[in-house]
């Protein structure tokens, strides 16, 4: 089980069980902690529905008490291939 975090302005942005495009950051300890991935994923407000945990913060950094779960369907490229 991996642990991720997402920033939202409102919990309604996390529409449950739909495929969403999200920027999530890893909370795994070590030098990559807090780095982001852009993913297509499904989320649930129940912490056990999907394999990974998802913590949520609001727009000014305030943590949300509720822990979600997330399943990454696909990693998306942030940088267009022509620049790589």
């Amino acid at each position: 089980m991996r642990v991720w975090e997402v920033f939202v302005n409102d919990l309604s942005e996390l529409r449950e069980d739909e495929e969403l495009d999200l920027s999530i950051r890893t909370l795994e300890p070590g030098i990559y902690k807090y780095t982001y991935k852009r993913v297509r994923a499904r989320v649930s407000s129940s912490p056990d529905t999907y394999p990974d945990r998802l913590h949520v913060r609001f727009g000014r950094g305030q943590p949300c008490d509720q822990t979600f779960s997330i399943q990454i369907v696909e990693e998306l490229n942030v940088i267009p291939a022509k620049y790589l």
């Binding site: 920033f7 302005n9 920027s23 950051r25 070590g30 030098i31 990559y32 902690k33 807090y34 780095t35 982001y36 991935k37 852009r38 913060r57 727009g59 000014r60 950094g61 305030q62 943590p63 942030v78 940088i79 267009p80 620049y83």
Partner: protein
Amino acid sequence: MKGHRDNREYVADLERHGDAVRITQEVDWDLEAGAIVRRVCELKAPAPFMERIKDYPGFRYLGAPLATYRRLAISLGMDPRSSVPDIAEEYLKRTTSEPIAPVVVDRREAPCKQNILLGDEVDLCKLPAPLVHDGDGGRYIGTWHAVITEGAEGDVNWGMYRLMLYDSRLMVGAVFPFSDLGKAFHQRYEPRGEPMPFAAVIGPPPLAAVAACAPSPIPEPELTGMLMGAPIELVKCETNDLLVPAHSEVVIEGVILPNVRVEEGPFGEYTGYRTSPRDKRLTFLVKAITFRDDAIVTISNMGVPTDEGQLLRSFSLGLELDKLLRSQGIPITGVYMPPESTHHMMIVGVKPIYSNIATQIANLAFGSKLGPWFHMVVVVDDTIDIYNWDEVFHALCTRCHPVRDIRVYEHAVGTALYPFLSAHERKYAKGAQVLFDCTWPLDWDPLNEVPRLVAFRSVYPKEIQEKVLANWEAYGFPTE
């Protein structure tokens, strides 16, 4: 006087004056370092020099490098006890002297080339980017640094624009569209769909950082030389033709991508809040990283006063506005921005030789390129010491007529960082500004209408003042 070539010379000088604390125990990059720097800012304590960073052997941190006027004086080679007006006078003298051109040195003489990461070795997570505040959108490698690019006029620009790590190859930065980098990118590179080369210098020589965040029209390499009293040594980048200070600690090279944005923020800001919304901002793709052995990563921790964002920006904004007003022949005694106002308040002293001179001052200041950075202008007459807040506050509360002397400027250019703006106003950078005219109206009869200031300095004959001062200790008062 020759400014410090690098942060090593600067730290040694700070230690000599008791203005740095060497921390030898291990410090965590994940919040602990940020918390130390924050507390240092709030206590105006010595700069923390952290020698061991968790997960990052071979790197060190210098926090709050220029968060006090004492440290500003030391960086300028002045007595640390120098008064603010004395530091201001010296800064004005140096920045109105002859420009001092930089010199380009061979890469073998450039310590910033001691370690070079190219191609697959490039990984931003090899650098100890701190998580500065809990709840920040990410780790910020650029908080006290210089982003070097082509300038608004096709010249060179060094600016300080915060930089967050997105992933191992990508940084994302907050660049205002009215800044020199913003103009060059939005007006030239992005319309052509062209990536814009950049170099982000972390731990630049102290006065190069001061130049990077100063709103001066003088090109920053020359400005640095003028502040240092000697040419700054520059060296060419590995992957582009930009020139960077050779004695920098870390240099990150790459390109700003056109039409690519990723989320940045939120971040603790100079106003003392996290205000600006998390948003999609400019992306900096990294192509090379070079760094010195035992590199010193500099950290500014913005929050409530006093940090570099407030102290230096207040200082250099105020002095650039001073130059602007004098260039227009306004008989000012000076301009001061108190850092505690988070550079939102510009205090101007003036000889009120004609009516509504305060309005002319506010129009010039708000209408200048610097206008979006502050929203309050307080104009006092030449009898008030602009550096003495007690005097300014007293004048503001006693001389400013709530109807006649407060002028509101609607529809001003703002920024997303103003805490008092609504979410809509922040999004579209719509500001508002205000003038507090604390001069007496010139059409008042000086004898019968202008009140008489009741102060030791104004209502006693000179002989009595001198007698009282001479006898002060004899009366039994402690010496100051």
